[in-house]
């Protein structure tokens, strides 16, 4: 399985990779902006994407739109600190399969990840 982790925070990228377990993936790629995420998605075709929202250059919801245009079957879990209901609803409306609110724990990201894989 190939994973793409999108977050402008190094701490978060490392925490997500560590929590999900590097060994379960054949490849782990990272991106720090929405536009880099779209490029990385096109280049590496990951099986799953974790996507932050508030990032420089292009935000995560715009990146979700563009990724799903390229591949409507893309599996995307949004991981964000934005706690208003409207944002979570918007993420799912745009095609994300899950929304996980920061701060995360190893357990919360593992559960959310397993949930979206079961779709």
């Amino acid at each position: 399985m190939k994973l793409l982790i999108v977050d402008d925070s190094l701490i978060m990228r490392r925490a997500i990779e560590r929590s999900l377990g590097r060994s379960r993936f054949t490849e782990v790629h990272t991106a720090t902006t929405g536009s880099l995420a779209v490029d990385m998605f096109e280049r590496h075709k990951p099986d799953v994407v974790t996507m932050d929202i508030t990032m420089p250059d292009m935000d995560g919801l715009s990146a979700v739109d563009l990724i799903l245009k390229k591949n409507p079957e893309a599996v995307i879990l949004v991981v964000s600190a934005l706690a208003d209901k409207a944002t979570a609803v918007e993420a799912v409306k745009r095609g994300a399969l899950g929304f996980l609110l920061k701060p995360i724990t190893a357990e919360s990201i593992q559960t959310a990840f397993d949930n979206i894989l079961s779709y």
């Binding site: 925070s9 190094l10 701490i11 490392r14 929590s19 600190a81 934005l82 706690a83 409207a86 701060p103």
Partner: protein, 155 residues
Amino acid sequence: MEEAILKIFAQSITRYFATVTGGEAVLGTPYLSDNDSESIAFDFSAIIGITGSHRGNIYYTAPREKLHALLPLIGESAPDERLCAELVGEITNTISGNAREQLGAGFMISTPFIIEGKLVSVHAAKDTTCYILPVSWNSHSSRVLVSLQQSPATS
């Protein structure tokens, strides 16, 4: 307005520490920054600009020792300066984003800007009052600075 806003950020920061550390952050009594060049910053600070329904900024500032104590709890076994800077940015981002639960999607947050150095002075956003929320966790102090006013269109 100030009390309600401070309560929201108090909840956000205590939630952060409860989730990440499993322990409790204790909040001190909020007080006003005097807006002069009082050095209230610790070793690492992050600032997030706020626009939309409110205008101003949110700071989180913490000493190196506190960040070194926190980093292993999120799996970082070798704390260094870069990780300290990253963590303070992530904390500021999280507490600001979490505030949208009560403040709504119109509370627009920027990406964090990191500042290193104890000697950096912190200033409130123009024409706003800056409140300082002391935060204590595991005998380590840090501060949340809230400098906000409602935008004219939403007042």
